[in-house]
Symmetry: none
Subunit: 248 residues, 2 copies
């Protein structure tokens, strides 16, 4: 393999995953560590990536994308990490959109083998960075506000799916009222998502607990897992743990 080809390959990996490990490249390209290191050094000299201990990082990832502006990011990372435990190799997972879900995707293990259906383009792009994950983006009208696809076409397609697990964020959850929402379209969509999967998990930060909005999505019993940043035994979660709903 020519040097230039290796460089292109490395840059493709970087663009795909935002990062790359030296050891992985050694295996994939079947050359010595030294060669990889020199390649990385040259790419650094060309200003095409960042080199760090153990590999290299995408430049754009660090400069352009500012994750820190995401509201309550720390909490969301905790939630995301907990939620990854629900995912096993070979599963078919359906996900919604939103920053929490996005964070969840970023926390998935590199080696995960699974199939993901999603209504969020951003989630799809993030999922695509995993080599062994198949991503199916459910198409339809694209919502400017929530950055997800919605509408009849989406619901129709959801009706043809049966996933093992559905992961969604929520704007409100209450022990008595269950999952609620304000937007009619989103409401319909969530119902369809729940119907399209055997089990379901709700990811939400604690401040969305004990809130009920106008439109009901489903009763609390229909949810199998509730993932928050709080400790399992926290006071705030007491009213939820009574049900056959597992708290993570």
């Amino acid at each position: 393999m020519l040097k230039k080809e290796r460089h292109d390959f490395i840059m493709r990996q970087i663009n795909l995953h935002n990062r790359v490990l030296t050891s992985d490249l050694v295996q994939l390209l079947n050359v010595s560590e030294d060669t990889i290191r020199r390649d990385l050094q040259e790419l650094v000299d060309q200003g095409r990536l960042f080199k760090v201990h153990g590999g290299a990082l995408s430049k754009s990832y660090h400069s352009s994308f500012d994750d820190s502006t995401v509201y309550a990011r720390d909490s969301k990372i905790i939630i995301a990490k907990k939620a990854t435990k629900l995912i096993k190799d070979g599963m078919v997972v359906l996900t919604g959109g939103g920053t929490t879900i996005l964070e969840f995707v970023k926390q998935l293990p590199e080696s995960l083998q699974a199939t993901f259906f999603t209504i969020s383009p951003l989630v799809a792009v993030e999922l695509a960075k995993y080599n062994n994950v198949e991503v199916i983006l459910i198409g339809g009208l694209f919502s400017k506000n929530s950055q997800i696809t919605y509408g009849g076409h989406v619901i129709m397609q959801l009706s043809e799916i049966k996933a093992d697990l559905c992961l969604m964020g929520t704007s409100a959850i209450d022990a008595i009222e269950g999952l609620t929402d304000t937007d009619w379209e989103i409401n319909q969509l969530k119902k369809a998502m729940l119907a399209a999967s055997k089990k379901s998990a709700v990811l939400c930060i604690s401040e969305k607990l004990d809130i009920a909005l106008r439109l009901k999505v489903c009763p609390i019993e229909h949810i199998n897992y509730l993932v928050t940043e709080l400790d399992k035994g926290d006071q705030l979660l007491k009213s939820y743990s009574l049900k056959e709903l597992q708290i993570l």
Copy 2:
């Protein structure tokens, strides 16, 4: 064997495999290394390929995966600006993916009223910033490499659409061979996109001109507009302007 024959042979190898090794050519053509090197140098001077240590690479190969270094960004902005002239209020537009198309979206007038179908999540997200634009994302399998949806499901949905204009990038275009590609799935997809719209425009930087790859998408006559960063009267475009293809 005459020099011209060797050159043709080399270019055929390049178009076929995207790469060629000096040592292979020495064997295949049964001439000295120096001769091959000189041949390659001449082809470089003609701008027909890239020379690297150990051999040469196709030009399209380098740009087939647009890296985050916003390769040839200036050119793409020029192209994008030209292409926006094709869009009128009320139109239904179908777009592909890629950085050129993305740049095109960014150059659209703020007030535009239109409907966009797209197979690119990133394009969808960008389009969503326009208040008066309706965005429909066509869903399906999500390609890790090209960041677009593809596969049978996408093609099926495309068959139900009739847009006014289809905008796509390309990896190669040639006056005789027409639009060509290397990937079977992408090839099918592009055919479906062209079939789904009344008119079509190809956006590409000049270095993708006069390149023919293995799989044929469509003859040059099926394209209505060709948008490059070059001036309308440029030499390189001469062979294209003969057809009923409008150069922008």
